[in-house]
């Protein structure tokens, strides 16, 4: 599904380049649940953003379903991720002026899906996430966990092939976090490819592969079981 070859991302300050990512090689198969871990500043989020096509690498190849993303311009990338990728953020990033229902509905609007067809799709997710009663509330009327549920619902309503999550439980307390992670697991079981960034090893256990980043390099890339056994 995804191949990254020799990916580099750096920032120029004057004549100096400072690398965030260097020599990244990565292969992601469809249906995998990958966790990216590493210390602060190791480049986790940047890698996630490049995979999510919000950012572009300076060097290297990025193939997504055999499309050469590194050759795309911004517009074409937007077109691609619009159809294949869903995002979940640590700070939820819901739109304050929209209700729960409307927040979930937004991606469908931008895909040009008609109101009549949107309704059952949103209703299904509200039901599945148990937030039907909250559908007319605004984000600031919800708890953090509930907000993240909405965020997740919004990410998957377009039936993306790839779900990207940047510390999805970082702002939540343990119980709420577990609830979210269980949903991730469910989605994974249904066949969705997931890549998450997290600091929590406990969260990493929900997935099946872990990639450790250190100063922009891939230090380790292992199956969850063998890695956890080792530690």
């Amino acid at each position: 599904m995804i191949q990254l070859k020799n990916l580099e991302r750096y920032y120029k300050s004057g004549f100096q380049k400072s690398w965030v990512l260097k020599g990244i090689n990565l292969d992601v198969k469809q249906g995998e649940f990958i966790t990216i871990m590493g210390d602060s500043g190791a480049g986790k989020s940047t890698l996630l953003q490049i995979i999510g096509m919000l950012d572009a690498a300076n060097k290297g190849e990025y193939n997504f379903f055999d499309e050469e993303v590194h050759r795309f311009n911004e517009k074409k990338r937007t077109e691609l991720y619009k159809h294949y990728i869903g995002f979940v953020f640590q700070a939820y990033h819901l739109i304050d002026d929209l209700t729960v229902y409307e927040n979930i509905e937004t991606p469908l609007i931008y895909r040009g899906i008609k109101s009549k067809e949107r309704k059952p799709l949103v209703a299904e997710l509200l039901d599945r996430f148990n937030i039907v009663a909250k559908k007319d509330l605004f984000p600031d009327q919800l708890s953090g966990g509930q907000q993240q549920l909405v965020g997740l619902a919004r990410a998957i309503i377009g039936k993306p092939k790839l779900l990207l999550a940047d510390e999805p439980t970082g702002n939540l307390h343990t119980k709420q976090g577990e609830e979210i992670m269980k949903l991730f697991k469910e989605l994974h079981a249904e066949g969705m490819t997931i890549i998450q960034v997290t600091h929590s090893e406990k969260n990493a256990e929900y997935g099946d592969r872990i990639i450790y980043l250190e100063d922009g390099y891939v230090r380790e890339d292992k199956n969850v079981n063998e890695l956890l056994e080792k530690n």
Binding site: Q49, G52, L54, D55, K75, T78, Y81, K82, H83, F87, F89, H93, L94, I95, D96, D97, L98, E102, T106, P107, I109, Y110, R111, G112, S115, R154, G158
Partner: protein, 791 residues
């Protein structure tokens, strides 16, 4: 998508009530001003444009080459139209009408007992072929062929006959102080549109305008205005040459030339310089339009500033939407929807404002504008609204939608530096405009005040002016004597032609010793009766005034100081001036210079001649007894002028009327300055609010570190102060330039002293301080515990 955008817009309005209100008030005021001005401009542009052959309908303008320069007037010799129609095949129809100096007074149409006042027009037989005023009855080729035929208006027919049916073929009586007679009605024309500059109730055969003045048929007289229909595609320059050739083949016309001007352009382009069209009312149309545009931009700037200042709060929305699949165009569409909706709401609100201020606006502009607008106007107005929305929304839309989601979600604002400068630039623009408007306002009002208070060399108070009409001319002397017998009347005089005070009675000056007879110079030469100087209170320096004790006063002249200086006689009284070689005019008096023309013009050498038959009467009344005396004047007038109503004006008002356009512009400048500064301050208020909000935490920290409230207020205001200072520095040279070019219209006026620029600057600065101060004091007084807590 639209529904989504509109919904978001309204929620956004609701969430940010303050900026919504600021935008609503600002934009609706700006729009109301702009739309009022648009209604006026639209009305002005449509004057005289309704004629079917508008693009072919022309009027002849004549240039007179004189020693002091070329003078242009839209008058011609009486028979010029016939001459040009015969000689030039490209002229399809041509007609003369009476010129604008004769028959300006209405006459009376009577039938049996009924007397109705009617404004006459004297026109050639093809008048209704040249002008497309539709005839209700009558054939447009025939109605004016017969010399005793008249065409009357629909309204006049209804007034006299109570109907427009069976009116053609009836006789009516026409009474006018120049001539009267019985006429046969040959046609009825439809009510003239208000957008017509030609206004009349009855059309008579042109010959009647010439009969009473035998000399008016001569080629040296200009008794006509000439209108014609020109064949399409005619080369105007060539055509003008042909006109001049015809004219110069006539006697007395070797120094004249002619050109054709499209009739409907004369309303806005009716001034001439050097024998060419040089503007006219169009300058007011342009000025008003410019003011409208600037006011609208000032209002839009508020919207732009507030939108971009709030960018930090909108940023997240943009980032999230982009990651959920919104394209840049989706977002631009959303922000433009927002601005257009904002402007649309303001438009509705502005309609309320317009209907409130329309009566006042009509008073300033002398129009009858209303909101009953045509679909075409409606279309234009909606276009203005949408354009304003696009203008106001464009910058925020492109700015906000350009955020990169990665940066936004990381909390980074791109291009903060440039954005801040653009916002500052916009504020500078707003306040520069405010200063310019206030300076203009101040200078115009100072100048009007100067005009009011100026010692004119005569006393214009308590003087009543009216005209003796109808057949009373032979009884003029006894009428005047009767008036003088009214106890509160101090003095009365009569003037022959040339408007009030006779100041428009211009002509060539007589010559004097040592000056060749051929030198021609146009000067005011009022022709007045006895007591002219006494009535006006003009001071006599030497000699005497016209008096009944002397005979042959017609051969004498009173000159003013300027004339005396020009002539250069050492003791002018008793010496002679000449007209031609054998006509001598004796100087009997010299008066102090007085402003017999408006203050736009320098006092000219003036030659006051004696003519006891003038019908424009001025009466000086003792102060405090005006009402009773005017009643008595009315009674006396009606005794001598059966059937004519007593219509009078005060010389004071006539004086005011000379400065009508200045007063108009002053009134407009008043409003413009008020609106500009109000809207600008609203915007500043909003900006200050957001800045202090954004710096809330900083303020808290500074206070914890020991800063005083005053210190924080100073820190927050200094930024705005600098911005306003820059605005002042930019606007002062611009307003100085504008003021100087406006003052060039006056020969006598105020000096442009420094305080006229300092005061507006201080006002703007002060108002800005108060606006920002209110916000900052509030922010600075907040207990830091509160501002630091929730971070």
């Amino acid at each position: 998508m639209w529904k989504h955008n509109i919904k978001l817009t309204f929620r956004n309005f609701k969430r940010n009530k303050t900026s919504f209100l600021i935008n609503l008030i600002g934009l609706s005021t700006g729009l109301a001003c702009a739309l009022l001005i648009y209604l006026w401009v639209n009305d002005e542009m449509n004057i005289d444009k309704f004629h079917a052959q508008d693009d072919q309908l022309f009027q002849v303008v004549q240039n007179y080459e004189r020693t002091e320069g070329i003078r242009s007037r839209a008058i011609t010799p009486a028979y010029f139209s016939k001459e040009m129609k015969d000689a030039l095949p490209e002229v399809i129809y041509a007609t003369p009408t009476n010129n604008e100096y004769n028959f300006t007074e209405p006459g009376i149409i009577s039938l049996g007992e009924k007397d109705v006042k009617a404004r006459p027009l004297f026109a050639g037989k093809d008048y209704f072929n040249v002008f497309s005023f539709p005839l209700l009855q009558g054939d447009k080729d025939q109605v004016l062929v017969d010399k005793n035929a008249v065409v009357i208006s629909e309204e006049l027919a209804t007034k006299v006959f109570n109907s427009t049916e069976n009116v053609v073929g009836k006789m009516i009586r026409w009474e006018h102080d120049v001539f009267d007679g019985e006429f046969l009605i040959s046609g009825i024309f439809k009510k003239l549109p208000e957008s017509s500059t030609e206004q009349f109730d009855v059309v008579l055969n042109y010959e009647h305008a010439l009969d009473p003045f035998e000399e008016s048929r001569n080629w040296w007289s200009d008794a006509a205005r000439t209108f014609f229909i020109l064949k399409k595609g005619t080369d105007l320059q060539q055509f003008n040459k042909k006109l001049t050739t015809i004219l110069r083949s006539k006697p007395y016309r070797e120094n004249c030339s002619m050109f054709a001007q499209q009739f409907s352009t004369r309303y806005l382009h009716g001034q001439y310089e050097n024998g060419e069209i040089s503007g006219g009312r169009i300058s007011y149309v342009n000025l008003f339009s410019l003011i409208a545009i600037f006011l609208l931009i000032i209002a839009c700037v508020n919207f732009m500033n507030l939108s971009t200042a709030r960018a930090s709060t909108r940023m997240k929305e943009v980032g999230v939407k982009k990651t959920t699949g919104a394209s840049r165009w989706n977002l631009i569409a959303q922000f433009l929807t927002e601005s257009i909706l904002m402007v649309g709401l303001s438009f509705v609100f502005s309609l309320v404002l317009i209907s409130m201020f329309l009566p006042q606006f009509n008073e300033i502009t002398n129009k009858q504008l209303d909101l009953n607008i045509s679909s075409q106007t409606l279309f234009s107005i909606l276009s203005i609204v949408i354009l304003t929305g696009l203008l106001a929304g464009s910058y925020p839309a492109f700015y906000l939608s350009g955020f990169k989601p990665v940066n936004v979600l990381k909390g980074k604002l791109n291009n903060l530096f440039g954005e801040k400068w653009i916002r500052k630039g916009l504020v500078v623009f707003q306040f520069s405009m405010s200063v310019i408007f206030i300076v203009s306002f101040l200078i115009i009002n100072q100048q009007i005040n100067f005009i009011q208070k100026k010692q004119l060399g005569y006393d214009k108070s308590n003087i009543v002016c009216f005209t003796s009409k109808g057949q009373a001319s032979n009884k003029l002397e006894s009428f005047l004597n009767q008036i003088k017998r009214i106890p509160a009347v101090e003095s009365a005089t009569n003037i022959e032609g040339g408007g009030f005070m006779g100041n428009k009675n211009n002509g060539t000056a007589p010559t004097w010793e040592g000056v060749p007879v051929t030198q021609q110079m146009m000067v005011p030469r009022p022709h007045v009766g006895y007591d002219y100087l006494k009535t006006l209170g003009v001071e006599l320096i030497e000699g005497r005034s016209f008096s009944k004790e002397f005979s042959n006063e017609e051969d004498n002249v009173i000159i003013n100081e300027s004339a005396a200086k020009l002539i250069g006689y050492e003791n002018p009284v008793g010496r002679f001036l000449y007209r031609g070689s054998d006509y001598k005019i004796q100087i009997i008096g010299v008066v102090k210079d007085f402003h017999n023309e408006s203050l736009h013009k320098k006092i000219k050498p003036t030659f006051i001649r004696f003519q006891p038959t003038g019908k424009d009467i001025m009466v000086k009344i003792k102060p405090g007894q005006e009402v009773a005396t005017i009643q008595k004047l009315k009674k006396t007038y009606e005794e001598f002028h059966a059937g004519f109503p007593f219509e009078f004006t005060f010389l004071d008002d006539e004086y005011q009327n000379m400065y009508e356009s200045e007063t108009k512009v002053a009134a407009l400048a008043n409003y413009a300055a008020g609106v500009a500064i109000m809207v600008s301050c609203l915007g500043l208020f909003g900006l200050a609010m957001f800045t202090t909000e954004r710096r809330r935490k900083e303020i808290g920290i500074r206070k914890v570190l020991g800063s005083s409230v005053f210190g924080i207020v100073r820190m927050l205001t200094s930024d705005f102060t600098k911005t306003v200072f820059i605005a002042i520095l930019i606007s002062i040279p611009i307003s100085f330039f504008i003021a100087k070019s406006w003052m060039a219209n006056f020969a006598y006026g105020i000096k442009l002293s420094w305080w006229l620029f300092l005061v507006p600057s201080l006002v703007v600065l002060l108002v800005a301080w108060i606006t920002v101060g209110m916000q900052t004091v509030k922010a600075a007084s907040v207990n830091p515990v509160h501002s630091l807590k929730d971070e």
